[in-house]
Each structure stands twice: as C-alpha cells, then as structure tokens.
C-alpha cells in the first residue's frame, strides 16, 4: 500500500449520520500505528536517522575538519613511536594508526555499513523472494531442486566459504571489493528468506482467491507475482529488517578479517581490524560503538515491525 493511498484513507470517506466518523483502517495502517506506539522502535528509528545523517554528512565533516577520509597526518596525528594520538581539538575522535581522522572515517564507514547492509539485504530479498515463490508455487521437481539448493547453501560454514570466495577473487579496486562483499553476503543470506517465502507460498496457493484467479484464467506468472506477492509483504518486510543488521555485521566480520572492503575505503570492520586496543582505546570504541548501536537499532526496529505486523509473535527482547 502506497503512502498516497494512506493519505487518501485518512480522509473520511463518508460521515455517519450520528456525527461519529468510523474510519476503515487498513492492516498496514494498523501496523504503522502499533509501531509508532512502540517506544523502542521509535527510539531505534531516531538512532538510525541520526546515523544516516552522520553517513550523509560525511563529506561535510571532512570539509569542516579539513581531513578527507584518506588523508594521513603522520606528523601531527602520530607520536614519534608512530602511535596514533587520541581525541584532540583537531581530531575530535582521535587518529587511526596511519594518522587519519577517526571521526571522518567513522562517518564514511557508516556509509559503507549502511550501503552494504541495505544493498545486500535488497539483493538477498530479491533472490530469496523469486526463488521462494518459484519453488513454492511451481512445486514438483523445481521445488525439490530449489529446496535442496537452499539446504545446501544453508549448510555451508558460511564464514569459511565467504573467506574463500573473497580471497579467490581478490578485487583490484575498492569498488569491486564493495560489490564482491555485497554479493557474498547476499549469497549467504537469501536462502533463509527463500525458505520462509516458499512455506508461505505453499499455504497461500491453496487459498480460495488463488483458485478464483485461476478459474478466471490468470496465468502462472500473474498469480505468482500479482496475486501472491502482495500477500508476502508483511513477512518479507519483517525478515529483511532483521537481515540488514546481520548483513552489516557480516560485512564488518569480512572486513575485520581483511577480506571485505579493501583499503583505503574505511569500513567499521576494517577500522576495528586496524586498532591496537592496548594503546588506543578510541580505535575500539568508535567503530565498535557505532556498529553496536546500528545493529541494535536495526534489530529492535525489526522486532517492532514484526510485532506491529503480527502482534502474537514473540519479541526478541521482552518489554513492559
């Protein structure tokens, strides 16, 4: 349901003679209203908006501080032993081991984390939904093959395979490494999505409205993508909102291990990898804190969305 439709809904279609207006509220509006009453979800949205602003404002931060993300200041930001200097007037959140501004890098890192998190989720969702719908609706041999394929993907020790893929196709530019990272994450995330979609489709295709559509002469493609797909919006939304933080952590893990985003593009994971915690605690707390905050916010929001769409389901964290 689009926003314009929602706006239209808000206008009372008709006034009851008694003077009391009774609004017809769609399931989506009901869900949104429940979500907006969920304090944790609202707080998460606020946090995420701030982080998104932080990411969008990265170039501004760079120009305010005068420190582009790749620029190194070995003379002023590192001591004579080569160790990075901590927070100061010039470097608000301190410098990294190469003498770069941690604040600016964290902001650019936010771009990477959010971009990878969302792009990988979108890609995984697309693949997952298409495969799930095909397997669930067509059934038979197609289902058997696709379902086994999902099982195989799910049974891989994903981190090991991800490392093998990332090291085999050593990307020659940071952009390629970004693309590769997103692809690797999507490959290992779509199967869970596909499996759930498949289950939903199997139960949906037995419903009367599908039979009705079929009896009206609708083709397979139309039934799959016009009749069934809209009914998957709720579970897919919930799943993808939870997939975003997973993807962000996945990216951070790969970059931490040195096989994700390649330098000098900053990512929270590679910033953590670069940190010598014993001498420079800010190198741990800045990217680590942001990563924690972002994934927590996405998780709580995802939880809120699930509650809103399906109030009977269990919460990730119980709240009073």
């Amino acid at each position: 349901m689009s926003l314009t439709e929602l706006a239209a809904d808000a206008v009372p279609a008709d006034a009851e003679p008694s003077g009391r207006k009774i609004q017809g509220r769609s399931p989506f509006r009901l869900a949104m209203s429940r979500l907006m009453h969920d304090k944790m979800a609202v707080a998460s949205i606020v946090v995420l908006v701030l982080i998104i602003l932080f990411a969008i404002g990265a170039p501004l931060l760079a120009s305010w501080t005068g420190h582009p993300y790749g620029a190194q200041y070995p003379d002023i930001a590192r001591d004579s032993w080569g160790l990075p200097k901590g927070p100061s007037k010039q470097f608000w959140l301190g410098a990294d081991p190469l003498g770069r501004d941690v604040l600016v890098r964290a902001a650019y890192g936010a771009r990477i984390s959010l971009f990878v998190g969302i792009a990988a989720t979108v890609l995984a969702t697309l693949i997952g939904v298409v495969i799930g719908v095909l397997a669930g609706y067509i059934g038979g041999a197609v289902d058997a093959i696709l379902a086994r394929f999902m099982d195989v993907v799910l049974s891989f020790p994903y981190l090991l395979v991800a490392i093998v893929i990332a090291t085999t196709f050593r990307p020659h530019s940071t952009w390629l490494s970004l693309l590769l990272t997103i692809t690797v994450i999507a490959i290992f995330s779509f199967a869970a999505m596909a499996r759930i979609v498949r289950g939903q489709v199997i139960s949906l295709k037995e419903k009367e409205f599908i039979e009705a559509a079929r009896s009206l002469g609708a083709g397979r493609m139309r039934i799959m993508f016009v009749d069934i797909l809209p009914n998957l919006v709720a579970p897919v939304t919930v799943l993808s909102s939870l997939l975003v933080p997973t993807s962000i952590v996945f990216e951070a893990t790969l970059s931490f291990l040195g096989v994700g985003i390649q330098p000098p593009m900053p990512s929270w994971g590679s910033m953590l990898n670069d940190a010598d915690y014993r001498s420079s605690l800010w190198l741990l707390f800045v990217p680590g804190g942001l990563l924690l905050l972002t994934t927590l916010a996405f998780n709580l929001l995802g939880d809120g969305i699930r509650d809103a769409f399906d109030p009977r389901s269990e919460r990730l964290i119980t709240r009073k």
């Binding site: 070995p74 081991p97 040195g258 330098p263 000098p264 014993r278 001498s279």
Partner: protein, 596 residues
C-alpha cells in the same frame, strides 16, 4: 641472495674498524658482555613459529636457519657475534687456520687462487671421533647443487672454476636416489675446489672476487661428512641423522621441536669463537603469534625468540619503559623499497621513462613509513639503493632530497607534468597483507594520490607476492603490476654488492624468479657491477659500488624507503646475548644462564 634478509657496513669504515678491533682484542664494551661470571649448564629455551623450510646446510637459506647451523656445521670463515654492528662485519677464520691474504700466500698474486689451511682440533661427533678434512669441505660444496634440495645462491657456480659443469651434470642425476647422488659426488671433481691434502683446500676462481671469504663462509659451504652420502639431502631421514663438528649436536628433531646437546668431541680450546656454556638448547616451534612469543619471554617460560621480532605494537611500551631486556639491533638493508615495473605497457609505458620515475622519487613520506614500524628509533629513511653499513654507502648522497625525508608531492606533480603526464597516472599496486605492509601500502597510496597518481591496490599473500606476482616476466610485460614494495637484505655484511646491488639491478639476470623484479637494465650499470665484483681491496669495492648506486639512483630504478632495526626481547636469566645481524639471531653458543 635472499628476500628480506639484511644488509652491510661502509667499506671505508671497515678498515678502520679492523684496526680498532685488533687494538682492543675483540669484544669491546659496546659489544656487550653482561655483568657476572659466565656459568656453565642449563637449558636454553627458544620459542619459534614455523618449521624451517630446510635444515640441511646445503640448502638452508633463511637467516635464522643459517645462524642456527653455526652451532653444529662449521664453515671456513665466519663473523663474530656482537651488539656493536661494526664488530660483526669482519671475517674471522673458523674451521680455517687463518684468513688467507696475499701476504701470507693464501691468495695468489692474480687474486684467483686461494689456499686455505684447516685448523687443528676439528672433529666430527662420530664414534670414534674422526677429524674433519679438506675432502669434507669439498663434499660440502658439491652438495650445494644436489638435485634434491640445492642451495638457492648463484655465487658458487658464478665464481668457482668447474663448478658450473659439475652442477650441470649433477642436475641430471636421479634426485630420488641417495646412492646415485653420492656416487656422482664421489665420482666427479670440481676443478676449482680440491683437497690438496687432509688439511689444505685449493680454490681456483674464474675471476678475482674481493668478497670470496664471505661467500665461502656461508653455511652452504660448510663441511659435510661422508655419512651424508647415505641420505637424500634435507630429507626426513637426513634430518634425523645430522652429524656435527660444532659445539652442539642435534639429538632430536621433529616438526614441533628440535634439541641440541653438547658434542662430546668438540675441542673447546681450539674454537676461538664459541664458548658453549649451556648444556642443552631446545627449540619449540608452532608459536605463530609474535605476541604469544613475547608473552613467553616476558614471563620467562622461554629465553629467546627463534624467528620473530618483538611485535610492533609492543615496541613503544618496552622502549618507553627503558626495559633492558628489549633491544633494537642494527640490521641495515633497504627494506622495503618501491620497485617500478619498467616493462609495464600501462600509461603508455610511463614507468619505462626515467623522468616519470624520478618524479615519483619525491612523492613518498619516508618518515610516515618508518612510523609504521615504531618510528625513527626502529626504522630510518633511506636515501639511496644502499643502506648505511653496506658497501657503496655514502652518507652525503641524497639524490632526491625532500624536507625531513617527508616527501614533496608538489614537486612530484610538477615533474610528472613536465614528463608529459599532466593528468597523472594510474598504477597497479599489489601489496602484501601480512605484517605492516597494508599500512605501508596505504601510506604510499595517499602520497602518490597527492602527486596526482591513482593507485589501484590489490591484496596479495607474502608467498604469492614473492613466488609469482613479482617474478613472472610475462605478467610484468603484460602490465599486471606497476609498482610494488618488496624488501631485500644481503647475505652478508661487508663487501656485499654481489649480494645486495647486483641481484636487484643486473639486467642480464632478468628472467623468471629474478629479484630484478621490474626488469631494470642498464649496460653501463652491468659493466660497473662486473668491475665492482672483482675489486680486490675494500676501498676499490667501496668506490665501484658507490658508482653503481649512483647510476641506479640517477635512473630512479627504485624508491628506497627505510632500513629497519631488528627488535629482540629476552628472558630475565639469559646473559651475553650477542647478535649476528646477517642471521637476525643471537649466537646461542655464547649465551649463558644466570641462576636464580
């Protein structure tokens, strides 16, 4: 010749030093004898990471292994361990009775024939004890070109008469048959390396070589007993049956641990270089993390590190605490440096142009690179292809000066523009992902970017970097890489141009696995190298190699970056730890353990 080994000292200084040494009779105060009376006994515990690639002295080519074999496989000549770098440069007779000179008749007038006498008291640890003979040294040299596990150094075939033919024939022998190899060795002679009698070796060179004592003093050329003919060189069986003529013998060998114990036949009185205080040396392997090893040394569960320096992150803490057990040892070499692929067709062959390479010489902030290693206390910027302490070094030579060695990107940009590249370049830069290399790569990338050069970095493993990426001429010619930052260290200090400058810049050697990675070739340089190799005196060698250095730097064949010190830590109870810079290790035969 080895990747990332280490360097050598100004030849001009060497003469002076030798005099100074003679005056004070060796081990000066800087050479560092610890307080207290040396005590015999105890077990020296060494903590190491990987299993050495080779144990057989005929093929062992890593620094620490060559240093290790000094304890049980003596060479004709060697260096003295000391914590004063300059004292480690001169050659001393080890198995030889004296240093051959023209004056004592050891070297012929034309400089091509060496007559080397063995000293008394050399015995194998066999039962009954058997003297080490000149024939054993001949066997040792012959083994360097065995087809099963040959030495990686080219010096012997290049220099010794008849060695080339001997090795060519040996290469055709079945490498899986110990008998076939033993038979070939006993049945064929090297015309230029013969035993005149039990105690006299006669060496004939193709041309004079001022560095021959260093070359024949490498562990490759240590003596080999006839028992070695029973085993395939460096095979597991060989490793179980090593025979010793040094103070220690290997009594147990496995991939996880090896143990040295006293050689009962060793004659302490006749060995001028070793003391052998400890009874037993245990080397425990498999401790891959430098942090883990450092922890053991600090806690005293191990005494010395086998093959790893102090972790970079621990250096500031130890240095600032003025911890006396922490040391930074001189280990000069140009490591790392930036090499240009002069054959690359990328950017219309820009890197083949001298003016472009010269522009890039100005771009790099070498102090920043030094900071990646712990700052200028640990690593110093290098201004030419020769590091301090190596032959050919000239402290006043600084062909591409920048303020405080911190780089001048504006000058680089302007020169690049003048060279016909006003819009900069795009360079492919494979970098190693181990150690400090990712940080170096990012420093270099940022510096070049400031000069208008876009750098495309691609990660590479250390093994692949040296084993494939840089040493495949077809890839270089196809432009698969443009710049790289490898390291290099000579095999010995002193007159070491043959081991330092020549491998990197002699274009006649370019081919698969050549360390002249970028295919640099200049006929004038090659000619000068030949002259420098034949220099008879240190002064001649110094002048000749300094000229090679100058030509190479005029051509901007490489951008020298830094020279590093080697950081060590030791347990509280070890005393008289004296360093062997060429081997990046302490001399275990001089160490003693203080009782608690």
């Amino acid at each position: 010749m080895s990747v990332e080994k280490t360097g050598l000292k100004a030849a001009a200084a060497i003469g002076t030093l030798a005099v100074a040494l003679a005056a004070c009779g060796g081990g000066g105060s800087n050479g560092g004898s610890d307080e207290g009376t040396p005590q015999k006994g105890g077990t020296l515990k060494i903590a190491g990471s990987s299993v050495p690639d080779h144990i057989d002295p005929a093929s062992a080519y890593s620094t620490v292994n060559q240093g290790f074999s000094r304890n049980w496989a003596l060479t004709l000549f060697t260096n003295k361990a000391s914590n004063n770098f300059n004292e480690t440069i001169p050659n001393y007779p080890d198995a030889a009775a004296e240093l051959p000179t023209k004056e004592n008749g050891g070297i012929s007038a034309d400089g091509k024939t060496y007559t080397i006498k063995l000293r008394d008291g050399l015995k194998w640890n066999t039962n009954p004890a058997r003297p080490v003979t000149a024939a054993d040294f001949v066997r040792g040299l012959k083994r360097t070109c065995n087809p099963a596990s040959p030495a990686g150094a080219p010096y012997y075939t290049d220099l010794i008469e008849g060695m080339d033919d001997f090795c060519k024939g040996y290469g055709k022998v079945d490498a899986k048959s110990a008998k076939a190899m033993g038979d070939y060795q006993e049945g064929h002679d090297v015309s230029g390396y013969t035993a005149k009698d039990d105690k006299t070796l006669v060496v004939k060179l193709k041309q004079p070589a001022g560095d021959f004592l260093n070359i024949i003093g490498m562990s490759f050329a240590s003596a080999a007993p006839k028992e070695y003919d029973n085993y395939i060189p460096d095979s597991p069986e060989f490793r179980q049956h090593t025979v010793s003529d040094g103070p220690y013998q290997m009594t147990s060998y496995s991939d996880k641990k090896f143990v040295l114990e006293r050689n009962p036949n060793w004659d302490a009185a006749s060995d001028k270089l070793r003391k052998a205080y400890v009874d037993r040396i245990e080397i425990d392997l498999g401790q891959d993390s430098p942090d883990q090893v450092e922890q053991q040394l600090e806690q005293g569960t191990a005494d010395l590190a086998w093959d790893q320096p102090v972790p970079t992150s621990a250096i500031p803490r130890l240095a600032q605490a003025k911890d006396k057990r922490f040391r930074l040892q001189d280990n000069p070499g140009v490591n790392p440096y930036i090499v240009f692929n002069t054959l690359s067709p990328n950017n219309k062959g820009a890197l083949g142009k001298k003016a472009v390479r010269q522009a890039i010489e100005y771009a790099i902030d070498k102090v920043a690179i030094a900071k990646n290693y712990g700052g200028v206390n640990v690593a110093q910027p290098v201004r030419s292809a020769v590091a301090p302490g190596n032959v050919g070094y000239d402290a006043n030579y600084n062909p591409y000066p920048t303020n405080n060695d911190s780089g001048d990107p504006a000058k680089c940009k302007q020169m690049l523009s003048a060279a016909g590249y006003p819009n900069g370049l795009t360079l492919k830069f494979p970098y190693r992902t181990n150690s400090n290399h990712p940080r170096n790569a990012q420093s270099i990338q940022a510096n070049l970017q400031a000069c208008g050069i876009t750098v495309q970095m691609s990660p590479d493993t250390n093994g692949n970097f040296y084993g494939t990426t840089l040493v495949t001429p077809a890839d270089a010619k196809a432009g698969k890489w443009d710049i790289a930052a490898p390291g290099w260290g000579p095999d010995w200090y002193g007159n070491n141009g043959r081991s330092g400058l020549q491998p990197l810049f002699d274009g006649r050697m370019y081919g698969p696995n050549s360390p002249d990675y970028g295919g640099y070739n200049n006929d004038q340089v090659n000619k000068l190298i030949d002259q420098a190799n034949q220099a008879q005196t240190q002064a001649e060698a110094q002048t000749a190699w300094a000229q090679v250095n100058k030509l190479v730097m005029d051509d901007a064949a490489i951008v020298p970056l830094i020279t590093q010190k080697f950081s060590t830590y030791q347990s509280a109870r070890v005393r008289d730890t004296l360093f062997l810079p060429a081997f990046q290790t302490y001399d275990y035969s001089l160490v003693w353990l203080a009782k608690k």
